[in-house]
């Protein structure tokens, strides 16, 4: 891992992690990212999205295969922006579930975008609806991570299945702007 906050307008890699998504590695990564990213109260927005992304790796990735996480940064109009990306092998037993979930996510994105144009729904309202549902994922997650990230991100997260090293992987990417 390496890092130094970018001061230019081009993306520069602040942290790149590749390793087993164990509790110890995840905690260490979170601590390092927080030190790097949170320099003002406003920067907590980015760290909140990063927490969800990194904890999803521990919760959903294959435990004994390496996962990747990267954080890039740049400054736009004097405010930091962060690009958060992760790539992790998908558990064999969950391939169909993940494919279904991505399809649902894409449908929901279209629905929300359409509803936003009509002014009847937004990501915040969707988050409230999902929070109020009270359901949980099998491993104790809230199933709210992507909605919460969509709400705080510049664009909804990009989530798709890709092949990497001959195995199906889940690719996740989101861009978060801090400050006004």
């Amino acid at each position: 891992m390496h890092g130094a906050r970018s001061t230019g307008s081009r993306w520069s890699t602040l942290i790149a992690f590749e390793g087993i998504p164990s509790r110890r590695n995840v905690d260490s990564l979170l601590a390092e990212v927080e030190n790097l990213v949170v320099q003002r109260t406003e920067d907590r927005k980015a760290f909140r999205a990063i927490i969800e992304c990194i904890q999803n790796l521990e919760r959903h990735a294959v435990p004994n295969l390496p996962a990747r996480f990267s954080l890039s940064g740049r400054v736009v109009k004097g405010e930091p922006r962060f690009c958060i990306r992760s790539l992790n092998p998908i558990r064999d037993a969950e391939l169909n579930d993940v494919a279904d979930w991505i399809a649902q996510y894409e449908e929901l994105q279209e629905m929300v975008m359409g509803a936003m144009e009509e002014g009847v729904l937004d990501w915040r309202q969707l988050y409230r609806n999902w929070l109020a549902r009270g359901e949980r994922t099998p491993r104790g997650g809230a199933g709210l991570g992507w909605v919460s990230m969509a709400r705080m991100a510049l664009q909804p997260p990009s989530i798709r299945m890709v092949e990497s090293a001959g195995k199906p992987n889940l690719f996740f990417s989101v861009e978060v702007a801090c400050g006004s």
């Binding site: 109260t41 907590r44 915040r124 104790g140 199933g143 709210l144 991570g145 705080m152």
Partner: protein
């Protein structure tokens, strides 16, 4: 209702009940991987609150993950029946996300919320 005190860790908040003030305080950060396990004793404690017991819940969190968000909602819902309950939701100035998070709960549960802005520099 009995005593309640859970010490803070790097990923979990301090939770304590001040019985002389009837005040439940959650402070710090709440980002455990499995929030259900962490909040179980708090939710069990909340079951013991009588509907006529006055109670103030002071939430002063810096971060909470989405796993914790549902546990907080469960806590508020369990206390919702209390006839004299107020949630005091603290947020740092410039932390709009935390203010909005409190407003989301205010929208969902039937409990009066009071929002308290804090100057983090003070």
């Amino acid at each position: 209702m009995g005593p309640l005190h859970i010490a803070a860790t790097v990923k979990t908040p301090e939770i304590q009940f001040l019985d002389q003030e009837n005040r439940l305080i959650l402070s710090g950060r709440s980002i455990p991987e499995n929030a259900v396990d962490f909040y179980r004793p708090v939710l069990e404690w909340a079951q013991t609150i009588g509907p006529d017991t006055p109670l103030t819940v002071q939430v002063q969190l810096e971060y909470f993950n989405t796993s914790s968000s549902k546990c907080l909602l469960d806590l508020f819902k369990r206390l919702e029946a209390s006839s004299s309950l107020e949630v005091q939701w603290y947020f740092d100035a410039d932390d709009e996300d935390m203010l909005e998070a409190g407003e989301d709960y205010d929208h969902i549960v039937g409990v009066p919320f009071k929002f308290v802005e804090v100057d983090p520099e003070a």
